[in-house]
Symmetry: C2
Subunit: 161 residues, 2 copies
């Protein structure tokens, strides 16, 4: 049994930016990925649902890509928020990132039925552009490696025309 | 209104391999991506569901990554099936691929509410390893580019221990 992490960055996204299918707390149908510091790394734990299979017994790669994606933007938000002098949950709104690019190497078939742990290593490339390298483990087995280039959300996401 | 494509490769996957959350016809909760030839390219059309948003008005990147992923494996299956002397729907079982790696560049925010078209260009790297470059369009706007390295499903996917 995995304990639910407390005080994830996604718990504090402004309401307008909390609708993401992957990690938005207000998206009822979504995955609700939640990301926290773990030492100098970041951590997102998620247990795939029964339907999230590639084949019976193995996790769907698109779900793993989604986990790496939101873990990446969440990790970048955590890191920039800290750089800005804040702590998650101190009442200030964290920055919101979007994904510029996503890479996933599927190292091994990922067994279904156990929690997946995404562990991120964060690097600042530019004040508005961060790289997050992620390893996804099923129990102690490394199943996928990912890289996300996350950028502070541009104004183009504000226009819906 | 987009007409449903006929005779997609996923319609003919063997039953044991038709459970993928992205493209398995037997996975009731899944996306049911379906891929066909379109001239020398491949095509998958999908209209995201209301919940598949990054923000209201924009499509979730993980859904786009999932589309590129299954479009890639489906495109590789179509191409190898043809190389093997078959046509989709001729009664023979197509090969089944898995994703070795996935890359997505998010070129523009992807508007929600219109069908997405994934258009693939296929290249054989090795008889069991194919590269599929994909462009994802929302109407006439290129929103994402992807690359999938797809490999014929290895035996490790047959073991559920």
């Amino acid at each position: 049994m995995v304990e639910k992490v407390k005080n994830a960055i996604q718990d504090h996204y402004p309401e307008d930016f909390a609708w993401c299918y992957g990690c938005g707390r207000l998206n009822e149908a979504g995955h609700h990925f939640r990301t926290v510091w773990q030492g100098e790394n970041t951590l997102t734990i998620y247990t795939p649902k029964p339907e999230h299979m590639a084949l019976p017994g193995f996790v769907y790669g698109g779900l793993i890509a989604s986990l790496i994606d939101c873990h990446g933007t969440g990790s970048a938000a955590i890191a920039l928020h800290q750089k800005n002098g804040h702590e998650v949950g101190d009442g200030s709104e964290p920055p919101r990132f979007v994904t510029a690019s996503l890479k996933v190497d599927f190292v091994k078939p990922t067994p279904h039925g156990v929690p997946l742990k995404a562990i991120g290593t964060i690097q600042e490339i530019h004040p508005k552009k961060w790289k997050v390298d992620t390893e996804v483990y099923a129990e102690d087995t490394l199943c996928a490696r990912g890289e996300v280039i996350a950028v502070v959300m541009p104004n183009t996401f504000m226009k819906k025309d």
